[in-house]
């Protein structure tokens, strides 16, 4: 009986459990929020936001966020959302923050309602909440609360947690952007943050410095050496910013390294170089590049080889990184080709590279050619000419041409390769090969001594032209056709010394045939080609004025050209006909015309001589000069002016006295706080006076121009320093002890009452356990 009842009860209980479980799981969306994302509905959002259930609220907030993704304007829900800003549920609160940050500018008045709650959160025991509160408070962007924000930043800048101090540093530029008159209040906070012992917040302090007062490098004198030493422990993004700032500082404040000798370098510059070099081993490509910049723009040339291997390593990281780094390598290689030359195999063109990478690699290989790798690189270009991408084919062929011009010893090889390509079935290859050949032939014929070509050359330039002339029917690309026609006209005369040959007197035997063939197709040619046909006809006529067939041919051509649709062609014909009036009066159908009639020699001079030489405009025109784009700048990649101000200042001849960088221990008279506030006051008083720390010539760092106009609340500042004085002294001292041995602080949430002895206790505790970096 009992057993029966028990089992009955158990089964009933089981049923109940199952029922309630089903009930709960019915709306338990285990598949995730995709349905919420794809089809969010606006029904009930208001009601849900007002409900007491966290789940309802969360659901409503998620739907709102999904709608934000769809670019809907949702500012109408602002009032309901703001009410949830103090929700106990962290997830809801975060979503509310996301919403607030996007829509606060639409509803500044309602946004003010949330301020109280953020101010309360600034005293929350959790550093996460404190940091978040500050971030949203500054992000809301209501100018009215500017002074509240400044106070909040000041409070957070003195926080025990470095994460909160980091948030404080990042808040400074936003506050400054909102209202520039806050600058006098923000500057002292910034200097405090730059003195932070923890490397965690240094990066953000640097960001703030660069945004708020980039020219006040004089504020850094006292920090320079410590910042250099701390560099390796800063987070990766901070390292990039800090190296950028220190580079600028070094260019402005340190003497230029004059000689090659290590000893001649300024100690402080050497410190920066030695402390950034380990970062070549960072996994972050941006950090590695920042170090490359430090070495490239600061160190004497003898240090340059150091950047080689880090730069060669980067392209492997990802195709996008490869694309960027190649542009920089190209830039560097144009002024230091020898550096990369032994490693040319790293830049071989792969078929699956993207177009830009292929083009950069070709230009780069061209820069890297030495007598050792000439053959290999030339073969690479010839391989590239078979690429599927027409642009690459063009680039490769041009590279071959350039190669032949710069390195005459491989001229023969290049010519052979180009001649083979003319036989190719592909239009692009043929036309580009012809263009390159033309310029090569021209260069060769321009040098009368023909010192460029070995005399035993099997392919004299004229043979090339005759070869091209015979293949005129196969060359369809209009530019290439025009090119061949011009070559034929220009150089057909040379061949005359050979006796016999059956051709016309004074002209190579292949030339008139070209005119015959093209005269037949005249009406189907492009303008470019038509112009060249006319010129060819005129030139041949000048060379052999007595030949009857030539006369007839050219007359035919000119009469076609005379009535061409294109006025360029008509103009050219008219010009040529009147030029030739003395030789072949029959050409002019209009009959007699006044004016000067030229003799044959004169016409010849006009038509054949005074041709411009070849203008070198191949790639590799980039120079890694600071005027022509810098390494690590977007301008180099896009090839356009990006309106940035990342140009480095030029070196000062002398630099400023290094004693300014000595820290307090060396000059006990001037305490840092006194100096900096004195500076600040002075600079406020008059924008002309250079503050005492800046002994640079006037064009160095103008300390003026970055301060806001207002005379600021100075009582506040003093109070600020008074409050923090005791703490600061303690920290400065321990700073000196730990210079080589930077500690990560233990950040417990002790609230705000940080006192010296407590501080030291914490450090003692830490010292035995960790310091994971040294």
């Amino acid at each position: 009986m009992a057993l029966n009842a028990l089992s009955e009860n158990a089964s009933r209980l089981g049923m109940r459990l199952q029922e309630s479980f089903e009930e709960h799981t019915r709306d338990l969306n285990l598949r995730g929020s995709a349905s919420l994302f794809d089809a969010p509905d606006l029904k009930n959002i208001r009601k849900q936001l007002d409900s007491t259930s966290d789940r309802e609220k969360l659901d409503a907030m998620k739907r709102l966020i999904a709608l934000i993704s769809k670019n809907r304007n949702l500012s109408e829900y602002f009032a309901q959302v703001v009410k949830n800003v103090a929700s106990q549920n962290l997830e809801i609160r975060k979503l509310v923050y996301i919403y607030l940050l996007r829509y606060s500018s639409f509803e500044p008045d309602l946004a003010l309602l949330s301020i109280n709650s953020f101010q309360k959160d600034l005293t929350d025991p959790s550093p996460l909440i404190r940091a978040m509160a500050l971030r949203v408070l500054t992000g809301i962007g209501v100018p009215m609360i500017g002074s509240i924000v400044v106070l909040a930043i000041k409070k957070c800048a003195a926080d025990t947690s470095p994460y909160v101090r980091k948030a404080a540093a990042l808040a400074i530029p936003k506050c400054y952007e909102l209202d520039q008159s806050h600058l006098p209040a923000l500057l002292p906070i910034l200097t405090t943050l730059l003195r932070d012992r923890s490397p965690l917040s240094i990066g953000s302090a640097t960001v703030a410095f660069q945004a708020v007062c980039p020219t006040r490098l004089d504020l850094l004198h006292q920090q320079y050496r410590r910042l250099c030493r701390i560099l390796v422990d800063v987070d990766e993004w901070g390292q990039v910013e800090l190296m950028e700032l220190l580079t600028r500082y070094a260019r402005t404040m340190l003497p230029r390294p004059s000689g090659e000798e290590e000893e001649e370098m300024d100690k402080d510059l050497q410190l920066l170089l030695t402390s950034s070099e380990p970062l070549f081993q960072s996994r972050n490509p941006a950090v590695v590049l920042a170090v490359v910049r430090v070495v490239y723009y600061l160190a004497p040339p003898s240090h340059l080889p150091k950047i080689l291997h880090p730069l060669l390593r980067l392209p492997h990281i990802s195709p996008a990184v490869e694309r960027v780094v190649l542009s920089y390598v190209l830039l560097i290689s144009s002024s230091h080709p020898a550096l990369f030359a032994p490693y040319y195999t790293r830049f071989l063109v792969r078929t699956d590279d993207i177009r830009q990478v292929k083009q950069d690699k070709i230009s780069l290989l061209l820069n890297l050619i030495t007598s050792d790798n000439l053959q290999a690189i030339l073969r690479e270009f010839i391989d590239c000419a078979e690429d599927v991408d027409e642009q690459i084919v063009m680039a490769a062929l041009r590279a071959i041409g350039r190669c032949a011009r710069l390195h005459p010893e491989c001229m023969q090889q290049c010519l052979t390769a180009l001649m083979t390509m003319i036989k190719s079935g592909h239009d692009v290859v043929v036309s580009n090969a012809v263009l390159v050949l033309k310029s090569l032939v021209q260069t060769q014929l321009q040098v009368p001594s023909s010192s460029l070509i070995p005399s035993s050359s099997t392919q004299p330039p004229l043979a090339i032209i005759s070869h091209l002339a015979r293949r005129i029917d196969d060359i369809r690309h209009s530019q290439a056709r025009a090119c061949v026609l011009w070559l034929v006209g220009q150089y057909s005369e040379m061949d005359t010394k050979e006796p016999g040959g059956g051709g016309l007197e004074g002209i190579a035997d292949w030339a008139p045939d070209v005119l015959r063939k093209t005269a037949k197709t005249f009406s189907n040619e492009t303008t470019e080609v038509k112009l060249q046909i006319c010129t060819l006809a005129a030139k041949l006529l000048v060379l052999s004025p007595t030949s009857q067939p030539l006369r007839l041919l050219s007359r035919y051509v000119f009469s076609l050209a005379r009535y061409d649709a294109n006025y360029d062609v008509r103009d050219r014909t008219r010009m040529l006909v009147s030029l030739l009036a003395g030789l072949a009066p029959t050409l002019d159908e209009d009959g007699e015309r006044g004016g000067v009639v030229l003799r044959r020699e004169q016409v010849r001079r006009v038509l054949f001589e005074g041709k411009a030489g070849i203008i070198e405009n191949g790639g590799g025109a980039l120079i890694a000069d600071e005027d022509h784009g810098m390494i690590g700048s977007m301008g180099v990649i896009t090839g356009r002016d990006m309106r940035g101000d990342r140009h480095l200042p030029f070196w000062l001849e002398q630099g400023i006295a290094s004693s300014l960088r000595d820290t307090e221990e060396d000059i006990p008279v001037v305490s840092f706080t006194a100096l900096s506030s004195a500076q600040a006051q002075r600079s406020l008083g008059s924008s002309q006076i250079t503050s005492p720390a800046v002994l640079t010539p006037t064009e160095g760092t103008p300390p003026g121009g970055i301060r806001g106009g207002s005379k600021g609340p100075w009582t506040d500042l003093d109070k600020f320093y008074e409050d923090d004085d005791s703490e600061e002294d303690g920290s400065e001292n321990s700073d000196e002890e730990q210079d080589d041995n930077v500690e990560h602080e233990d950040e417990e949430e002790d609230g705000d009452g940080e006192e010296d002895d407590e501080d030291e206790e914490e450090e003692e505790e830490e010292r035995k356990g960790e310091d994971p970096r040294t």
Binding site: L30, G32, S33, A34, F37, T52, D54, R55, I65, N71, Q88, N89, L90, E91, I98, L101, S126, P127, L128, R135, G139, K166, L170, P173, V207, E236, V240, E241, Q281, S282, R283, A286, L289, H309, R313, H316, I317, P319, A320, R323, V324, T345, R346, T351, D352, I354, R355, R379, D383, D387, V388, G425, S633, M634, I637, T638, M642, R643, P772, T774
Partner: protein
């Protein structure tokens, strides 16, 4: 240096998620999305788009604001990062890479579907990793996991079942955040089994010319680590042959001074997956160690390519024929997931091939049908030949023809061959020992080797 924000696009080019572009006009992100989609549509070959696109944008007063659109492809999504002004694009790409790693850590696979499933988490991640001024904030996954809860079944159950009102802060968020003294490691971890696994993954990248001589071949390696250790362990990892490593790059946790001193890795690991070390393998030992002076033995640094391809490709009018023979040069190991790809040109319309092979020197079982296959991808115009398992010293053939709409088809001048070799490493890098200080337990250490190859073979 700052970026403007992040936009995540699905494979049809529509935005899924975007960060708030507060300092720009509302049209700004749209212009970038448009520029990218245009460039993608214009590209002749799928995916051949410059990862940086110049986008001229205008502010309210019609002044030109030059900006650039940096983008990467990740699975079926594209992540776009608009940048304005003079910023190093590497900064943007480094951040994008970091962000993708975070997404992978949180969601396993990164795809449009998973991101849509967890869009609220992605928004929270964006908020924590990127300051509204465009400066990266917290990018270490260890620290992030304290701030943004990774989606899990448990957290979903909790969120759904918690009784209304009584929930309060979720226990895992807030309390532990930012409490760790080491930025990259969570505090207070406890594991029952303390394990750490090292996967040595090496990639051979080589270019082989028409005659079968390698022009360049480099091996890039990395040590993927998965640490599940309690407390704050301080590890010391030593290798028996550290001289094979060069051009190293380390995770921030590694003490660089110690490495310079005695080539051993001393570090307090982050929790979970991370990449401890990237390196390049130098085959001929310290003799050819790169000094930068003289002529470094470029020839001497070549790594042996473990495969031979004999190819006979003829291109005729409107098509061509192929005859490929692949032979493994490995004496004792099998290659897996081998694939050879040939781009047949823009106008290619189809291909038909026959595969055969599997005769190998030692004699043995015939390879299973289905092990070897070929297929023509009509979108990418690529002929792909796959061999699931290629035993040592075996030979495989592919014969066939392709058709093309162009009179003179222009297939790519090289085949791309990829393969994997398990339980093997080109460098034979060996872990000597792992010592742990600072904690009382002895960890279990697992070391595995894996190789992948990516060879361009010109024909």
């Amino acid at each position: 240096m700052a970026i403007d924000g992040i936009i995540i696009l699905d494979n049809s080019g529509r935005p899924i998620i975007q960060s708030g572009f507060r300092s720009c006009s509302p049209a700004y992100p749209l212009l970038h999305i448009d520029a990218l989609n245009n460039a993608l549509a214009k590209s002749t070959r799928v995916g051949d788009v410059d990862p940086i696109i110049y986008v001229p944008t205008y502010d309210g007063r019609d002044a030109l604001l030059p900006s650039a659109c940096c983008h990467i492809l990740c699975g079926d999504i594209r992540i776009v990062c608009p940048v304005s002004g003079e910023v190093d694009p590497l900064f943007a790409f480094a951040f994008l890479q970091g962000f993708v790693e975070i997404l992978q850590e949180y969601f396993g696979t990164v795809s449009a579907a998973t991101l849509k499933d967890n869009f609220d988490v992605v928004y929270q991640l964006l908020e924590e990793t990127l300051d509204s001024g465009g400066h990266p904030l917290t990018t270490s996954t260890n620290a992030l996991r304290d701030i943004v809860l990774p989606p899990s079944l448990i957290s979903k159950l909790l969120a759904n079942l918690s009784t209304p009102g009584a929930g309060g802060m979720s226990p895992a968020t807030g309390a532990g955040a930012f409490a760790s003294p080491i930025p990259w490691r969570k505090a207070g971890l406890r594991y029952n089994n303390n394990d750490i696994y090292f996967d040595v993954v090496e990639e051979l990248r080589a270019v082989v010319n028409k005659n079968g001589t390698p022009l360049s071949s480099n091996v890039w390696g990395k040590i993927e680590t998965n640490a599940k250790l309690s407390g704050t362990p301080d590890l010391l990892l030593t290798f028996t042959n550290p001289q094979v490593l060069t051009d190293c790059a380390f995770h921030p946790c590694v003490r660089l001074q110690r490495w310079t001193r005695d080539k051993s890795l001393s570090f307090v690991p982050p929790d979970g997956h991370f990449i401890l070390l990237d390196y390049r393998y130098v085959p001929s030992g310290p003799a050819s160690a790169v000094t930068g002076s003289g002529t470094p033995g470029v020839r001497g640094e070549l790594v042996h390519v473990p495969i031979v391809l004999k190819s006979l490709i003829e291109v005729n009018e409107f098509g061509g024929t192929l005859d490929l023979t692949l032979t493994s040069r490995l004496a004792s190991r099998a290659m897996e997931n081998l694939s050879a790809e040939l781009y047949l040109g823009e106008e290619a319309t189809g291909a038909s091939c026959m595969t055969s092979g599997g005769q190998w020197g030692g004699g043995g079982a015939k390879s299973l049908p289905g092990d070897v296959s070929w297929r023509f991808d009509s979108k990418k115009k690529v002929l792909r030949w796959e061999i699931q398992n290629m035993p040592s010293s075996s030979t495989f053939h592919l014969r066939g023809s392709f058709t093309s709409g162009a009179k003179n088809p222009r297939p790519a001048r090289a085949l791309r061959i990829r393969f994997e070799i398990h339980q093997h490493s080109f460098s034979a890098l060996k872990v000597d020992q792992l010592r742990l200080t600072g904690e009382g337990y002895k960890p279990y250490k697992g070391v595995r080797g894996r190789c992948v190859g990516d060879v361009e073979w010109r024909w």
